[in-house]
């Protein structure tokens, strides 16, 4: 099994198809799990109600019903909308999520690609979705969408920086940009000389972890940073004119991005697919690794969605000053401290 996953079989095209399909499976399953666990159930229980209960046992098949509902809807393109751009926008957003999922490692040999600049690629790819959102906002020929798209542009670009800077601390501490290398560094690291549980960077990079989570929340346009969507003001912001399958693509993209970012946070800060007492190269980790990663993803997802369902939203100028005047200075200080401590110890 290890050899299958290590992709030293087949030619380039077979490997690529496997990567695409595998990434698609990860995206769909990840988005689906996050939607059911957090949006349907956790949100409902936090509001003292049950959520969907009819479709499937305890509403677990509600997603199937929703997908069916979206598929059978009419394909609407507003009359004055720029049709080509309007139709293109959801795919751009989804594409960035797909590409992000490709760099995620699931086990010692279970990965799609193993790049030496994995982290760099991941962070770069996450910026592509901004283009999709902007395009959606402009092409919809709707003033609400336009406002939503403009807000999104400012917000998503502003919060790219704290995310990158938070990750820089991790990279300094791990010494590599390779995601497998970061997992290895956490597994075999030591906390002040004790190597019982390795060195998950959440302990030493707590500030970075918090900043990364806040920046993720903003990148996903979740409350308290959901000005681009801002349902009570601009209906659904850039997604207002979308219905049916196109809206489903945005919806999947939103939750799949949440899943992928949670996986990224788990890999960077919580130790990824490794667990403390099992060897890194052990073959059983190829099976257990994905499960471990999913568990850690759910933990990070709980934090993200817990904040989403509790807080009201910031106004966009407050949002921007929060990013530029607070998060970026803190993450710069974090980097400085990491550098100093890394050299000192």
């Amino acid at each position: 099994m290890a050899s299958v996953l290590a992709l030293d079989w087949g030619n380039y095209w077979q490997q690529s198809i496997f990567r695409v399909l595998g990434s698609a499976v990860f995206i769909i399953l990840g988005a689906g799990t996050f939607v059911i666990a957090f949006l349907f159930k956790m949100m409902s229980y936090m509001q003292s109600r049950l959520g969907p209960m009819e479709a499937g046992p305890h509403g677990t098949l509600q997603l199937v019903a929703e997908v069916g509902k979206f598929l059978q809807k009419e394909d609407l393109v507003p009359e004055r909308a720029d049709a080509r751009l309007f139709k293109l926008a959801p795919y751009v957003v989804l594409a960035s999520t797909f590409l992000l999922a490709v760099v995620m490692p699931f086990g010692p040999d279970a990965y799609f690609v193993n790049l030496d600049t994995g982290v760099f690629l991941a962070l770069g790819l996450s910026s592509i979705s901004v283009i999709g959102i902007l395009v959606a906002g402009w092409a919809s020929a709707n003033k609400y969408s336009l406002i939503g798209g403009l807000r999104a542009a400012g917000q998503l670009i502003a919060y790219e920086l704290p995310m990158v800077l938070a990750v820089v601390g991790v990279v300094i501490q791990a010494g590599t940009l390779n995601l497998q290398g970061i997992v290895a560094a956490q597994h075999s690291g030591q906390i002040f000389g004790w190597d019982g549980i390795g060195n998950p960077f959440v302990l030493t990079q707590l500030v970075g972890f918090v900043v990364f989570l806040i920046a993720t929340q903003a990148e996903l346009a979740q409350t308290p940073f959901d000005m681009p969507i801002a349902e009570s003001e601009i209906v659904t912001g850039y997604m207002t004119e979308y219905s049916g399958m196109r809206f489903l693509l945005f919806f999947i993209a939103e939750f799949a991005t949440a899943a992928v970012f949670s996986a990224l946070a788990a890999t960077l800060f919580l130790g990824g697919w490794a667990i403390p007492f099992v060897d890194l190269d052990d073959n059983v980790m190829n099976v257990v690794g994905p499960l471990v990663l999913v568990t850690k993803m759910m933990i990070v997802g709980t934090l993200i969605f817990w904040a989403r369902f509790t807080f009201p939203r910031f106004r966009e100028d407050q949002l921007q000053s929060f990013a530029w005047k607070f998060l970026i200075p803190i993450s710069l200080v974090n980097i400085l401290a990491t550098m100093v401590l890394k050299v000192a110890f």
């Binding site: 807000r151 308290p224 807080f311």
Partner: protein, 390 residues
């Protein structure tokens, strides 16, 4: 290369469309954003036409009337019990409160006074409707600012009040319980104990909202310093209720102009806040709910015995005359000007509703604020469309 006619036409159309958008974006007045009658934020069918410069409002116009149901005309051709039924539906969240000033005006014309027990139960239901109305306001306020959870919690805890209203009047939303001379029926057994238990839950709800919503730093940055109404401006625009008290004006019709309700026999406090911003108005409303629970407790404890209805004829003909009675409804000051010609129904009823005056300050208040602040300000002014449009 020459273009065909249809191509030329398409090109001209595209240029014209671009030109329209550009003109809008480039004029001093800015882009017109129509937060139309169907919108998640406005409490019903309110149309707000805002001219934006980027994200700032340069001017705003409020257009109401999409929900006009012709109440004053309807009241001309209905009898007094029928008008009481209809009037429930003006401010549909605190429905009993709509009946009270009308019945008090009619009682004033008939020169009949309700017996003490009826007065106390009337006050009790009045305060319960205030709690029901404003607890939903608090939940909805959080919803409009982005937090989804408090709205559901508000609905969950409001059920206790609605169940109490239902067990005495028969209807959760439209009690239709006030009658000229008293009330329709008396309290069922065990109601007072149940209501006191419900008040305990409502107080817990207030504490919950204070922790979840009012104590939240994000909520405070969204509402503090936003939409400041100085006291003089508030008075000149005819605001009433918590909007006036949130600007520091100590004005409450329950204390100052009490006709026919039991407020002067109770020990309660009027809450004001000096700031005049959104947070002040919302905070005053939260304190009003707390105060209302205390008033309900006092009313439950000291309920006098006796008849529920004064001696009035079966078919009521109100003698000729005019009377105006205003009470402190949950939304503000609501008044009914009843003109009677000695018939079984009023000749003319003029309804002074609180939200109509409350919303009149919106164009003045919304100048220069950001788009999200429009929502925060409208939420804190708290209007109900049925009350504006009648």
């Amino acid at each position: 290369m020459t273009l065909t006619d249809s191509q030329q036409l398409a090109y001209a159309n595209a240029q014209a469309a671009d030109g329209r958008v550009n003109v809008e974006l480039e004029t001093d007045d800015g882009m017109v954003l129509n937060m139309g009658p169907q919108h998640p934020a406005t409490h019903g069918t309110l149309r707000l036409i805002a001219r934006l410069d980027g994200e700032q409002v340069t001017s705003a116009d409020v257009m109401c009337g999409y929900m006009h149901r012709g109440y004053e005309k309807l009241c001309e051709v209905r009898t007094y019990p029928q008008v009481t039924t209809l009037v429930n539906r003006i401010d549909w969240l605190g429905s009993f409160a709509n009946e009270v000033p009308f019945i008090l005006a009619a009682e004033q014309l008939m020169e009949v006074e309700a017996p003490p027990r009826a007065k106390w139960i009337r006050t009790l239901l009045f305060e319960l409707s205030r709690i029901a109305n404003i607890s939903l306001f608090i939940g909805d306020l959080a919803l409009q600012l982005g937090a989804q959870t408090p709205a559901f919690l508000a609905f969950r805890d409001r059920e206790f009040v609605l169940n109490q209203i239902e067990s005495v009047t028969g209807g959760r939303f439209h009690p239709n319980f006030d009658r000229i001379g008293g009330l329709k029926d008396d309290l069922p057994k065990g109601w007072i104990a149940d209501t006191k238990a419900a008040m305990v839950r409502l107080r817990e709800f207030c504490d919950l909202m204070e922790g979840l919503v009012y104590g939240n730093e994000i909520f405070q940055t969204r509402t503090r310093g936003i939409g400041i109404i100085p006291a003089k401006v508030a008075e000149s625009y005819g605001l009433s209720g918590a909007n006036l008290r949130g600007s520091g004006v100590d004005w409450d019709l329950r204390r100052d102009a009490n006709i026919g309700l039991a407020y002067d026999e109770l020990d309660w406090k009027v809450w004001t806040h000096p700031d005049g911003d959104c947070f002040a108005r919302c905070w005053v409303r939260l304190q009003e709910v707390r105060e209302a629970t205390k008033i309900v407790d006092q009313l439950c404890d000291g309920m006098p015995g006796g008849a529920i209805m004064a001696k009035v004829p079966r078919i009521i003909k109100v003698p000729e005359g005019e009377a105006y009675v205003a009470t402190e409804n949950p939304l503000g000051a609501m008044g009914y000007y009843v003109v009677s010609r000695g018939d079984i129904g009023p000749f003319r009823v003029k309804i002074r509703s609180a939200s109509f005056n409350n919303i009149s300050i919106a164009p003045w208040l919304l100048k220069g604020v950001y788009v999200p602040d429009i929502i925060a300000i409208l939420a804190s002014l708290y209007f109900i469309l049925g009350d504006i449009d009648r």
